[in-house]
């Protein structure tokens, strides 16, 4: 009397059961984080006793309650957060033993790879399914962090999924899901990028972001000017404001100075300056500027913005 899609359904049901197993495997390393009103968010056991989640979902600052994969409650404290990448690292208090999430094979990831977003927005694990729709290179978040690669996802990052893992069909973690970083567009930060932030947060509680305290505006250079000073390229960055007590002020940068190079790199867009600074963590950087028609070189030691936040 009743019918099903007959014996030929094997490939489909095999895929289905593999996906369900992937969710189950990943779920063993996903916790619920109760640090905001309404829906809890998800976090991944990144390594022994360390949970990674999305910073915007953790509203409280003190001790945070979490629900472990086995349903037990535990407390955790914040080891550090980085608003620029919207990541937060928590340390689980006491000696709850939860195994760290297995890693997926990131090298096999391409546009079109089947992926699952897994979350624990409460007691149980839930999932959504789709493909990697784009791999973005050299993306900068609106808070100024540079991320080498970011994954855009053709799947739904539901309420409570931010901070949870994006896993492959084997349940291995590829990235951390986030619905807030690109203002509503579902995307994921690759595990390697997360690793770097986690290292820094565990080590010093913040991520170092060198800054010199200037606002700049790209301006075009005339051909004659470029030729006269033997400047390659046809644009520079005009200093339009300088922060009080900033490295730039102390170093003698003046309003109206035209920035041409930083650390030997040509500057034509504001991002170029951020990139040049990021490559000089804690060391002095030499700035080549054009002031009143005269080329000058000024050396400035960037300060750490993360520390001030």
């Amino acid at each position: 009397m009743s019918a099903s899609a007959s014996g030929a359904a094997s490939a489909l049901s095999e895929l289905s059961s593999q996906l369900a197993s992937a969710v189950q495997a990943a779920g063993n390393s996903i916790v619920a984080i109760h640090a905001r009103r309404r829906i809890p968010s998800s976090g991944v056991i990144w390594r022994d006793g360390v949970v990674v989640s999305a910073s915007h979902t953790v509203r409280s600052e003190g001790e945070i309650s979490i629900t472990l994969p086995n349903g037990d409650s535990a407390k955790a404290t914040i080891a550090g957060r980085d608003t620029a990448t919207d990541l937060i690292v928590l340390r689980i208090n006491g000696n709850a033993t939860v195994k760290a999430a297995p890693r997926g094979d990131y090298s096999s990831l391409r546009v079109g790879t089947l992926v699952l977003a897994v979350g624990r927005p409460g007691k149980n694990v839930s999932a959504s399914f789709g493909i990697v729709s784009a791999v973005g290179e050299g993306w900068r978040t609106w808070q100024g962090a540079r991320i080498d690669r970011v994954l855009r996802l053709d799947l739904a990052v539901y309420d409570g999924f931010s901070g949870g893992p994006l896993v492959d069909a084997g349940g291995g973690v590829l990235a951390i899901n986030n619905s807030a970083l690109a203002r509503g567009t579902p995307l994921a930060l690759p595990a390697q990028a997360v690793d770097r932030v986690v290292e820094e947060l565990l080590e010093r509680g913040h991520v170092r972001r060198p800054f010199i305290g200037v606002a700049v505006q790209p301006v075009a250079l005339s051909a004659a000017l470029s030729k006269q000073h033997q400047i390659s390229g046809d644009s520079g960055l005009m200093i339009v404001s300088i922060a009080d007590n900033s490295p730039a002020e102390k170093g003698g940068i003046l309003l109206g100075d035209l920035l041409l190079e930083a650390g030997g790199q040509r500057l034509s867009r504001p991002d170029d300056l951020l990139d040049a600074l990021a490559s000089k963590q804690g060391e002095p950087i030499s700035l080549r500027i054009l002031r009143g028609g005269v080329l000058k070189t000024i050396s400035i030691t960037p300060a750490d913005r993360g520390e001030r936040e």
């Binding site: 009397m1 009743s2 019918a3 099903s4 899609a5 007959s6 030929a8 359904a9 094997s10 490939a11 489909l12 049901s13 095999e14 895929l15 289905s16 059961s17 593999q18 996906l19 369900a20 197993s21 992937a22 969710v23 189950q24 779920g27 997926g104 094979d105 096999s108 790879t113 089947l114 699952l116 897994v118 149980n124 694990v125 839930s126 999932a127 959504s128 399914f129 799947l155 739904a156 539901y158 309420d159 492959d168 069909a169 084997g170 291995g172």
Partner: protein, 198 residues
């Protein structure tokens, strides 16, 4: 892991065609008064059809379309709390979907929703089980799936990868498809028929 899946993608896809074929034969379109249309699932050989209660207006005319022919139907029983209705259209026949207890569903399992969203006939949508929501007695109350539904999917089947019925699509909450567990549907039909027999 992924490469193994890509290897079987073609096979899975041809399975999908078979699945879509089965579902096309096992569902009808339901139209009642001014309500627009919904989807109905053929339930047994006697022209019984199950759909959502909200697709069948009491006291209004009721028609079902199977294989391009509209036929008159009548409502036999309602369960407003579970949003279910049992209707009879004696000349309508088709295969009955095997029922799977949603108790055994796991998050991440593939599911398929068949129906007539926005009046488009026989549209198939794929997704995965998001979670199975339970009532106080811990038995399944809603099957929640990451699958795209639209008006017109109401009353249609949510099936697993083998084409077994796990629920009847009823509503969309926060973008997630919400279905009434197949076991509740089965109970409803059995009780409704027992009452009529008594």
């Amino acid at each position: 892991m992924n490469s193994a899946i890509f290897g079987s993608a073609r096979a899975a896809s041809s399975n999908l065609n078979g699945l879509a074929e089965l579902l096309r034969e096992a569902v009808v379109e339901v139209r009642s008064g001014e309500l627009g249309s919904g989807t109905g699932i053929i339930w047994g050989g006697a022209g019984l059809i199950v759909t959502n209660a909200h697709c069948v207006r009491r006291g209004s005319s009721l028609e079902v379309d199977a294989n391009g022919k509209w036929r008159e139907a009548r409502a036999l029983a309602y369960h407003p709390q579970h949003d279910l209705a049992l209707i009879a259209a004696p000349s309508v026949t088709g295969p009955m979907l095997e029922v799977r207890d949603p108790e055994s569903l796991r998050a991440g399992e593939l599911v398929f929703a068949h129906g007539h969203p926005l009046g488009v006939r026989d549209a198939l949508a794929m997704g995965v089980i998001h979670t199975v929501a339970r009532d106080r007695s811990k038995s399944p109350r809603w099957v929640v799936a990451d699958v795209r539904l639209a008006p017109g999917n109401s009353g249609g089947p949510l099936v697993d990868a083998e084409g077994r019925l796990v629920g009847i699509n009823s509503m969309v909450v926060n973008g997630l498809g919400v279905a009434i567990p197949s076991t509740l549907v089965q109970q409803f039909v059995e009780r409704a028929l027992a009452q009529r027999a008594a």
